[in-house]
Amino acid sequence: MRPERTAQLVAAWARLYTRGLPSSLARRRIAEIEADLHDQIAAERARGAGDRGIALSVLSRMVRGFAADVSWRGGAAAASTVYRLATAVAIGSVLFIFWLMGAVGIIGVEGDPADLMFFGVFAVGIAGAVIARTRPRGAPRALGMARALVAMALAQALVGAVALAAGKHEAAISSVFEILGLTGMFMALFLGSAWLFRQAARRRFSSEEE
């Protein structure tokens, strides 16, 4: 029994349980296992261990780690799904606002310059996402995105407050109820996305992506 054969088996198992996960996450786990296997075989040979003993040790490490591998995969897959959902809600919300601006106008009538304030909300989101991208992948980045979405919700609240202070609710087509309602709805969408990002971080969204 050659250790290299059992190492191939362990690598095949790693490829199997990482299948369907985000490719960066899967690549990292597989590469880390392959480096570990190489190091173990080299180190055990250097200290004079026989091939059969090394192969059994490699096999034993794989078998004893089965439960942890499966559990890790479950957590990573669930977190990955939640992260994607959070991203979809955030992008969908921005596109929805953008569409409303062009189609019917959000504050006042279509083409009211007050709608330009929403670009400030988008800018806050872009800045927050850029900052989040500087953090390590996984939970830290998901938390960064959550903060970016909370900042967007606060910017959205500011837009509503400015619109009311500027008397936009006095226009024939707008009302206090409408401005507050739309502001609340957009804030709920951003905060919902932020909550999903936090859930992704909590579900042990692995920081192992690279």
């Binding site: 790693a14 990292r28 296992i33 570990d36 040790s57 034993s60 591998d69 499966v70 971080a201």
Partner: protein, 120 residues
């Protein structure tokens, strides 16, 4: 694997931090998966190495908690072998490890020191 109480570390995770601290004291600033498993085997005088799944799941969890940081080894340093993922204790990780050592939680750890519930 023992059930985790919220905000606490599992014995294996504590053992990893304590081992990393001792390796750090021996001027090994960074460590890799197999190197850590070997060191843990020697320190605990065990016959077997920690299983792959258990080890890398615990390392990921510690990194997620902000107690470890990691990066890929430079390709030039790998010298033809697969590149290693290099880990190192963060400041918070070192503090938790020192606390565990002070409480006698190293090696066959039984206590679970509290850690921050969320990464920084």
């Amino acid at each position: 694997m023992p059930r985790r109480k919220p905000g606490t570390l599992l014995p294996l995770e504590t053992e990893i931090l304590v081992t990393a601290l001792s390796m750090s004291a021996a001027k090994e600033g960074t460590f890799h998966g197999f190197g850590l498993a070997r060191e843990m085997r020697e320190q605990s005088r065990s016959r077997s190495l920690t299983a792959h799944g258990t080890l890398y799941k615990a390392l990921g969890r510690l990194e997620q908690l902000g107690l470890l940081a990691s990066r890929w080894e430079d390709a030039s340093a790998a010298e033809g072998r697969p590149r290693r993922r290099l880990y190192e204790l963060t400041g918070e990780g070192a503090r938790v490890a020192e606390r565990a050592v002070a409480e006698g939680a190293g090696g066959a750890a039984r206590r679970s020191p509290r850690v921050a519930p969320e990464p920084a």
